[in-house]
């Protein structure tokens, strides 16, 4: 997983780095409207995501997407809301996006996300194409 570029550092954040200044220093979990939200009270409150948030802001949260394992898991079965990796990733991503997702909606959201991630992962294998995908990822498409 490529870490996000920080506007306050010269290069990508390393897994061990922390955001120690600026608005994210305390992180939305401890200071923002989600401080008392589902992450603080839910099943992951004592889990690894909680530790990530408490110590290093949002990079550690994203770190819980172990790409090889995630892809293998997703490709052989549909992820479930109980999947700790997908669920944890989704909670971290939701916080990063500023989304507060009702507990009642969570299973449906994670199920849809699992499908999307599986679909996305399926695009990378190269069993028919004779060359890598083009680099062009322009969103403005010309037929």
């Amino acid at each position: 997983v490529q870490p996000a570029m920080s506007s306050r550092s010269a290069g990508p954040l390393k897994p061990t780095e922390t955001i120690d200044a600026g608005p994210l220093a305390a992180g939305p979990l401890t200071a923002g409207p989600l401080a008392a939200g589902p992450l603080a009270a839910g099943p992951l409150a004592a889990g690894p995501l909680d530790i990530g948030w408490a110590t290093s802001g949002w990079y550690r949260g994203l770190e819980i997407l172990p790409k090889p394992r995630f892809r293998q898991d997703v490709l052989v079965r549909n992820p479930t809301p109980e999947d700790p990796d997908l669920d944890g990733y989704a909670r971290a991503a939701a916080l990063a996006a500023g989304l507060s997702i009702d507990d009642a909606w969570w299973p449906g959201v994670v199920r849809h996300l699992g499908v999307l991630m599986a679909r996305a992962a399926s695009l990378e294998p190269n069993d028919i194409r004779d060359a890598p995908l083009p680099a062009d990822s322009a969103a403005v498409f010309t037929p």
């Binding site: 996006a97 959201v109 849809h112 999307l116 083009p134 498409f141 037929p143």
Partner: protein
């Protein structure tokens, strides 16, 4: 419902001909359409607003032009309606949502609406749809489900469900829809009408509420091929106000639809497109190919992955568009769309960009396939209209989710913006089905020639509502 003999078979070209010749007035036609909606739409629920005053005013202007001996336009007096994501001056653009219902009314018509009215067509209302166009069934929790005129216990398809149902019920002969993943082609198929999704960028989307900007198209639903052609001719053309509008000179089609298909290379899509549907959906294509004497089969590599890429792009762009509302008032979304938008908001950028890269590869692949044939045939939907509320269906022994699976055959094609015409055919169940005709970018004229030939030979056509085909 337009039952007056003076209105011919009810298609737009016939109506316009009668209005232009003075055999009927545009006002009479508009009154007939408005009466049909009033008496019949209570059971169908295809309209979300009826614009009586505007329709009669526009019709009177057409009549005045005819009376003065001036040209009222090629669609003179043709009543039409639009999916409620198109701006209509003075009306709130709902886009199927409750949230947008709080917006102020639009101050101007969408470009597509303007072009039709400038051609003499008369707008009579706005139409039901899936919330924010994210669906294939128009089971809208805010405005109620749109019912299929052929069986009112069944869905009309989506997301332009009202657009399909209003034409099938003969409330109006012509409607506008939008197609991102199949949202014109699916309802056209399930309702048994003709549908056209032109090449991406052909028709301006200015004034149309977006869903997924890099995939959104304007499309047309109608009762005949010549109606599709005439309407396409009026609608297409460059608009600098739409960032993806293609800058090409007009390429008119209506005068070509009777040219026949003798010089065209036709094929049938194999592989992915030859499986994945119930037998009657696949047999509809095979029968049509046999009647046309088509023996060329084209194989489209990676169509399944193309559908995957379309899903990822759609979810990501759609979620981004609605991110503020997802943060602030997610409970106001239709539950059918809310969870998918929320999931889309969590998709990593790397996944989205991978899908766009795949799309570039698939574009080259499709253009390679379309260098060997002018038009190929493919199924339009994997099964006929499901029941309202039906969540699962069985295809080839496997249980699938009804709603998303309706896009199985349409999503790979719109991913790369290809022009597609869907023609209505009969299924063994007696419910309408459809066949997609697919061509290379900007070859709408060729598609419409093939569709017209099929129509002439009786291999496709509009089924009569209330009488199932056998």
């Amino acid at each position: 419902m337009i039952e007056d003999d003076r209105l011919g078979n009810g298609d737009a070209v016939a109506i316009a001909g009668d209005v232009r010749a003075g055999r009927v007035t545009a006002t009479e036609v508009a009154q007939s359409a408005l009466a049909a909606v009033k008496s019949g739409d209570g059971e169908v629920n295809s309209f979300t607003s009826v614009l009586t005053e505007r329709a009669l005013l526009e019709a009177s202007k057409v009549d005045a032009l005819v009376a003065a001996g001036e040209d009222p336009g090629p669609l003179a007096g043709v009543p039409f309606a639009v999916k409620n994501l198109f701006d209509v001056a003075g009306e709130v653009t709902l886009a199927g949502s409750r949230i947008n219902g709080e917006d102020p009314p639009a101050t101007a018509d969408a470009v597509a609406v303007s072009r039709l009215t400038e051609a003499g067509a008369v707008l009579v209302g706005s139409l039901n749809m899936d919330e924010y166009a994210y669906g294939f069934t128009t089971e809208n929790s805010h405005y109620g489900p749109c019912r299929n005129p052929h069986d009112r216990d069944r869905v009309a398809g989506g997301s332009s469900g009202g657009s399909g149902a209003a034409v099938a019920a003969n409330f109006v002969p012509l409607t506008l829809g939008s197609d991102t993943n199949g949202s014109v082609r699916v309802p056209a198929t399930l309702c048994g009408v003709f549908g056209l999704k032109p090449t991406y960028g052909r028709i301006s989307r200015r004034g149309m509420f977006p869903f997924c900007p890099s995939l959104d198209h304007v499309g047309v639903l109608a009762r005949s091929v010549r109606d599709l052609a005439m309407t396409f001719d009026v609608l297409h053309g460059h608009d600098p106000g739409d960032p993806v509008s293609v800058d090409r000179p007009p390429e008119l089609t209506a005068d070509q639809v009777d040219d026949g298909i003798g010089d065209l290379r036709l094929g049938v899509a194999g592989g992915y497109f030859a499986r994945g549907g119930v037998p009657e959906a696949l047999e509809a294509v095979a029968t049509m190919a046999e009647r046309l004497g088509i023996d060329r089969r084209v194989t489209i590599a990676e169509a399944g992955r193309a559908r995957s890429a379309a899903m990822v792009i759609t979810a990501s762009e759609g979620a981004q568009l609605h991110l503020d509302d997802l943060r602030d008032r997610a409970s106001d979304f239709d539950p059918m769309t809310r969870d998918r938008f929320l999931a889309g908001a969590l998709v990593p950028a790397s996944a989205y960009l991978m899908a766009q890269r795949f799309r570039q590869w698939f574009r080259v692949e499709m253009n390679r396939v379309l260098a060997s044939v002018d038009v190929f045939l493919a199924p339009a939907t994997p099964f006929p209209a499901p029941l309202i509320g039906q969540r699962e269906a069985v295809v080839e022994g496997e249980t699938v989710l009804t709603q998303p699976y309706l896009g199985y055959y349409t999503q790979p094609l719109s991913l790369v913006g290809l022009p597609v015409v869907t023609v209505p055919v009969s299924g063994a169940s007696g419910l309408p089905l459809g066949v997609q005709l697919v061509a290379a970018p900007y070859r709408e004229a060729v598609l419409l020639r093939v569709a017209a030939e099929l129509e002439r030979r009786g291999l496709c056509g509009i089924p009569e509502v209330g009488r199932r085909w056998t």
